[in-house]
Subunit: 244 residues, 2 copies
């Protein structure tokens, strides 16, 4: 049984906030259907990148939206002229992620500022995991998530951009299905699937930036592991490079 | 609280199997943490396309794998030569879905056959929903899911290719966030996120082709609605068309 819930009551986060400290009482107060409370080893704490970025001081002054996006852009992947004269750009950003506007949040921030993504979301996840472990005495996995569009699908969806203590890609190659046949090409993007599940309970309008997913302890590892960077497709596997 | 589970005990499905009849005892036997059993209005029944396709007689004789893929292909989106001399093709198929091998399953099927996707997965979902409603007296939503690769992400993930009774795209445009700011460009691909959540409990090796997701009744509708076809990005929104 998979369980996921997004608690209310996460305090406002600003630059310098110790996220583990803010999350500790909220996570400790969680109630589960079996009567247990708090979080346990094997749980997965899923945090919207927005609050991680705010805590890390990534809300920066920027008079020019486009210049802020340019500064985070490594490579333009696609662009489209908009009816209002603007341009929508899908780019690869400094974190290696392919996103609209390089992941720069220019809409829901104070005028004259932009919110950049965490500089190293895997490091953020590791740090929060250490903080939660120190305060709560358990070792949940930690995911940092952001929202992306998909080329051939309408609607945005959440993916994992940072991870600590999670098997980000579940590699089933060589295992057998119920008919005894060897599975092929079966590496599952479980971190992104967990991010998607968490988004369903967290919502966009609710002020609940954190979800806890229980029931996937087989994917949670003692070590922090290679992080969500592993889920970024390397150039040699990318079928959609220009000229490729 | 979101809950998801994938029951054991779904009988083998072959051409002509009445899926609603096969699923009815399995779904009726589900046990939930609050002590309730079975399924209820507002639950979402998520079914792997593979069993839907088998039930609909889509396992067909095909001597030539590539010819079978060609027959399902409407448009080639990308291709790549493989080290073994073969070719991997990402194509748009007859259902409008962009997938490797047009969604034709050529690996885990008897020699000399291929398994095609359901011809109209939204119609499949509607039919199964009617059947479950007739047998169980409740109106869950029904999703039919398949597995896809993603251009810039490693690892495959499940998406919804058929839907009945679900708000496939949750449109939050015009709503306000907790700071009172209007949300922009916020249409969420919730059907795909539910497919991803279901995949986490169903697994690929387990012989459990069905999951039930509880806790998202706000997304379940009395009418069957427009189905998962709504999640297919129309050509005019596609930034990745050749020459686009």
């Amino acid at each position: 049984m998979l369980l996921a819930q997004a608690p209310d009551g996460v305090a406002e986060v600003t630059s310098g906030t110790d996220l583990a400290a803010v999350l500790t009482p909220v996570l400790a107060a969680l109630a589960w259907p079996d009567g247990s409370t708090g979080i346990a080893d094997g749980d997965i704490v899923v945090i919207a990148s927005k609050v991680v970025a705010k805590a890390e001081g990534r809300l920066v002054v920027a008079r020019d939206r486009e210049a802020a996006i340019d500064a985070e852009t490594v490579r333009e992947v696609a662009r489209r002229e908009l009816p209002d004269g603007g341009v929508m750009r899908i780019v690869e950003n400094r974190q290696g992620l392919v996103m609209a506007a390089a992941g720069v949040d220019t809409s829901n921030v104070p005028p004259g500022t932009v919110l950049l993504l965490p500089q190293d979301p895997d490091a953020s996840a590791r740090r929060i995991r250490r903080g939660l472990n120190a305060r709560l005495g358990v070792r949940p996995a930690v995911l940092v998530t952001d929202t992306v569009g998909r080329p051939w699908r309408r609607g945005i969806a959440d993916i994992a951009i940072g991870a600590a203590g999670l098997e980000v890609l579940q590699d089933l190659r060589g295992q057998h299905d119920t008919q005894g046949r060897v599975l092929q090409a079966t590496v599952i993007g479980v971190a992104d699937e967990i991010a998607a599940a968490a988004d369903l309970v967290r919502g966009k309008t609710s002020g609940r930036p954190v979800a806890v997913v229980r029931g996937l302890a087989h994917l949670v590892t003692p070590d922090d592991g290679g992080g969500a960077a592993q889920a970024i497709r390397p150039p040699e596997e990318d079928l959609f490079r220009h000229g490729g």
